[in-house]
Every structure is written in C-alpha cells, then in structure tokens.
Subunit: 319 residues, 2 copies
C-alpha cells in the first residue's frame, strides 16, 4: 500500500534478464495444481502467479508463498529490496531472477515478462504488502498475460483492505475501497462528497502527515457524527485501532499520528432518492428512444419512487 516511488532504483539493472534465456519451452503438459506454487517443474506451461505478501508480520506468509518465492523462475517485485528482505526473514532463498516492477517501469517490463511466461516460465508477482493489482501495480501485467493466452493464478493472503474492515468493528457486509484519499483539499472534499450517500462501508488509505487535514475535510463534508475507524500499523508492533465518530477521530489525529494508515468509514444511513433527483435519468432513457411513461415506470420501479410522481417531476422540469 505504499503510495509511490518505492524502489525507484532497486533492481533496475536486472530487467534485461527477464526472458533472456528462453529455455524450457512448453511441451504442452496440462497445468497441474502443485505447479501453481512456483515454477517447478520447469518445461510446463508458463504462468503468472499473483501472490499476496504480509503487511508487516512475517508469520502471515503462507507456505505456498514461501514455495513460490523459492521456485519461481522470475520474481517481479514492486520493490526488490523489500522482497529480498521478506525472503531473508522467511529463511527462503529466491531461486529465480528478481526484477523490479513498479508503476514507472510497469509498461516497459511487461513484454519481457510475458515472453518469459510464453517460454514456459513461472513469473511470480509481489508488491510491498498485500494483494497485487488491488491498489498496487499488477493489473496491466495480468491483462497482457491473459491477452497472450497464458494462465494467471493467485496465492491469496493478507490485504490491508480486508484487515482494516475486520478490525473496524463496523458493519462491513458491503464495502467499497478507493485507494489513497486525494492529496489536495478540493479533490479530497469532492471525494468525501461522493461518499455522502454511499450505503456501503468505505475504506481508503491516507498518509500519516495528511490524516488530520483529511479527517477535518471528512467532518466538513460528512458531518462529525459518522462512525469510523482509523487503523494504524496493522499486524505490526504498534498496531492501534481507533474507533469513534469522525469528529472524535479528527480531534485525536490533530495531535499527530505516525505509521501506515487505513481508514474505514461507516456507510451512510439509507436515504431515498426523490423524484426530482431522477428526472435526468428518465430524460436520458427518453433520449435513448424510450416512451416517457415507460421510462418513468422503469426508473420508478428501480429506485422505489412512484411513477406518477416521477412523471409529474419530469413535466415540471420541462416547464
């Protein structure tokens, strides 16, 4: 869940190694399941393996992750130093080539990685923490691998999103996740405005030095009474979860906060949309060829608003 720029130099020189030795062309053996844990046995169909990594506690790494680190032909890592440190902490020797894979080099790296997979190799993709392609590099490599007709599998594991939801103590049977909150106050307030009527619990990340200003904006847009939780340093030594109202949390954060932060906001209490809110939706369907009465009936049913009331609102809006 690091925001940017991690490992800017790490492993850059290793990039040429990807796919450099095209040994082990696929012999058409069908994908068997044990091989999803890593590159063994070589010569099989190549694949991309997305693996979740610990948020901070080595003991959260699964045996399949350990095996994959040891056995993959190529390890593509958001920050190669952090991945090497993780392997060392796990007592695992990385057997394959290690390649850096972060936002700024992502598109440049993809052709060679897909070629490695095409040649029968297993490419393991890991980020600094959590699940690749959820708020981290990865999606475009997955897409390119699929487009080239190769297999993609996943080693499930830690995610800051689900961990924060569980720790929040809030109802989270429905939730949404928006990555990092915008940095600029204007954009941040717009972001909170989109959550004003959001019925789902909402998770976002924030850097510690912006948390106070961010929660102040949340209070300004959503009011002080919305319930929320701030999760700090999850699974690490100084793990802390603060639960309360936005107003109370903003006051607490004003004193200064450190560490990696995930925020969970309770969903908004349900509010019915009024007929006036739905006029635009009806008009769009009419523009698309629907009869006005049909459009009113349809939108009314979808949104729980009377079709007569909606019809009147459209006529009023048309003047």
């Amino acid at each position: 869940m690091d925001e940017s720029d991690t490992g800017t130099d790490a492993g850059r020189d290793e990039s040429d190694a990807v796919g450099a030795d095209g040994s082990g062309a696929p012999h058409g053996g069908s994908a068997d399941r044990d091989a999803a844990t890593g590159g063994r046995p070589r010569g099989e169909c190549g694949r991309l393996v997305l693996a979740a990594t610990p948020l901070g506690e080595t003991g959260d790494a699964s045996p399949r992750l350990r095996a994959a680190l040891a056995e993959a032909d190529v390890v593509a890592a958001e920050d190669t130093r952090r991945t090497r440190a993780l392997a060392a902490a796990l007592g695992v020797a990385i057997g394959g080539r290690v390649v850096s894979f972060y936002d700024q080099v992502e598109s440049a790296r993809i052709p060679a990685l897909v070629e490695s997979i095409a040649s029968g190799e297993t490419v393991l993709l890991v980020t600094d923490a959590g699940m690749p392609s959820v708020s981290d590099p990865g999606y475009s490599l997955v897409d390119a691998t699929i487009t080239a007709g190769h297999r993609v599998t996943c080693l499930p594991g830690p995610s800051a999103v689900t961990t924060a939801l569980a720790l929040s103590g809030l109802p989270v049977d429905r939730f949404c996740f928006d990555g990092f909150a915008p940095r600029k106050p204007g954009k941040r307030r717009e972001f909170f405005a989109t959550l004003r009527d959001e019925p789902r619990a909402s998770v976002f990340f924030e850097s510690p030095h912006r948390l106070a200003a961010c929660l102040d904006d949340a209070v300004a847009v959503l009011g002080p009474d919305r319930r929320a939780a701030v999760c700090r340093e999850m699974t690490k030594t100084y793990e802390e979860v603060r639960r309360g109202t936005l107003g109370g949390l903003a006051a607490w954060a004003a004193e200064g906060v450190r560490g990696e932060i995930s925020v969970v906001l309770a969903g908004a209490a349900p509010r019915r949309r009024s007929a006036a809110d739905l006029v635009g939706e009806v008009e769009r369907r009419v523009d698309g060829g629907a009869r006005l009465k049909d459009a009113c009936a349809q939108v009314g049913e979808e949104q729980g608003v009377s079709k007569r009331e909606l019809y009147q609102a459209v006529l009023t809006a048309r003047g």
Copy 2:
C-alpha cells in the same frame, strides 16, 4: 463465503462450555505481540482474534493461523466441522474449546464469548473461508468486544474478494463488494441498476445454479458489453476464471456451472451528471439552510457542473 445455514447443528452442544471456567483473570499485563497469535500465555489480557482461513487450499494457511488454532482458549467457528477438518488437514491439534458461531446463533453466543475474553481468555473467530466479518458472521462480536473494552486483533489472510479482483484482469484500483447478489429477479435487477453508473469495479458472490439467470439480468440492465470475470473454485483443483463481456459470459453460463462463484464487473465508464440530475441535491441543501446561489456553487464544484447551468435548472424545476 457460504450463503447460509452452514453447520446448523454442528457444535451446538458445545456452547455452554464458553466462559464456563473463568480461570485466568487478567493480571493487567500489557498486550504483547506474540500473544496475538493465540491464547498463550494464559493469564494475560483476553482478546478477540479474527483470523482469515483458506478458500480451499490448505497451503494458504499462515503459520500464525496454525498457532492460533492450537493455542486459543476458545475457537468460535462458523461451522465447527469445517474448522476441525481444516485443523486436521494442517496437522494442528485444537487446544481450546470449539464453539459454533453462525448467523442464527450469533447473538445468543456473544455474551459468553465476551465473558471469556473478560476473564483473560483468547477467543479465535474463524469462518468457513476468508476473513470474518467481511460478508460473514463476526461484526457484532467485534462490536460487543470493543464495547466491553477488550482488545481485537486480526490475522490477515485469504479473501475471496481480493483473490477474485486479482484474477479478474480488470482495473481494480477502486472496487466495491456487495456480498451475494439478491436471489429474486426484481431485486437483482434493482441491484444491477445501482451498478449502472458505479465507477468502481464491483465484486459479488452468486450460487452456481443462479449464475445464468443472474448474468441474464446483468445483461438486461447493464447491456451486453460491460466487461466482467467469473471466478470459479478459486485456489481449488478446478479453479477457472472466465473473462469477457457480460453477453459472452451469460451465454457461457447458460450451459450450466458448478462450484463456488465470485463475479467481478468492470466499473462503468465515467459519465458526467447533468444539471437536471443535481436539482434535488441543491434543493436539499437549500432546505438545510443554504442560500440557493451557494448551494449551486458548492454542488456544481463537487460534480463538475457549471453553477449557472445548475441555477437555471433549479429555477426551471421550480416552475
């Protein structure tokens, strides 16, 4: 991610054991980190530990989960048979009492579990698969534990939600999750209507025998061209991920599908809301005491619509 009714009888007779022996009252020792892996050492402050469990592959269980199963004083399990089977597959002997904890008994179980924690015991909460309290029993126990002033920690791990997102090959830097799709066609269409303008990728669960009808409804409401992925039996022997358009996936599903299903829908292409859509929002702020011009400026800025255009739309709607 089972839908309901799992383990209706399993472990019901074990419930009385919870908190029955109140030994190990807290001696005020501060929470230390190793103890978050399970109940050891006894006599420390009690706590609730939420632990994620594998989706189907034993090798996805972390060392901390294994330790917690062995060492917790009480294991509260959505289905005690499945949890005992998991422990057996991991070669772990559950040391503490095992108590069933599923939707129908949740509220009845909570007082005794909180009492166990109050008496200094560690209660481990696990569901059939994935992270407790995300689409599964758990939230109310977390809430009760926090309210009673006790500690809640989490052992991160597998989640069907993040695994499906990673496997989907879709842009998932923002996403939402809605649990199981509604069963009834009318409610299901309403559900898809709420996703029509949803910019985030969307994840939901569906039972295999309803998948074809569900995707037909998705096509009816969202059109055949929205991109999506159907993930089946994730991490299991017959794992399969189908990626394509809703229309293509509906045609595929019509032939019949088995296994546990997670669906990922691509987010909607951004569409600007028109001034007419926002009249209701402006009027609500006016009702709340804002001046009309201020409300137009504020809503206009939030939604990227000209305040003049919005002002005109309000006047037109007022007639």
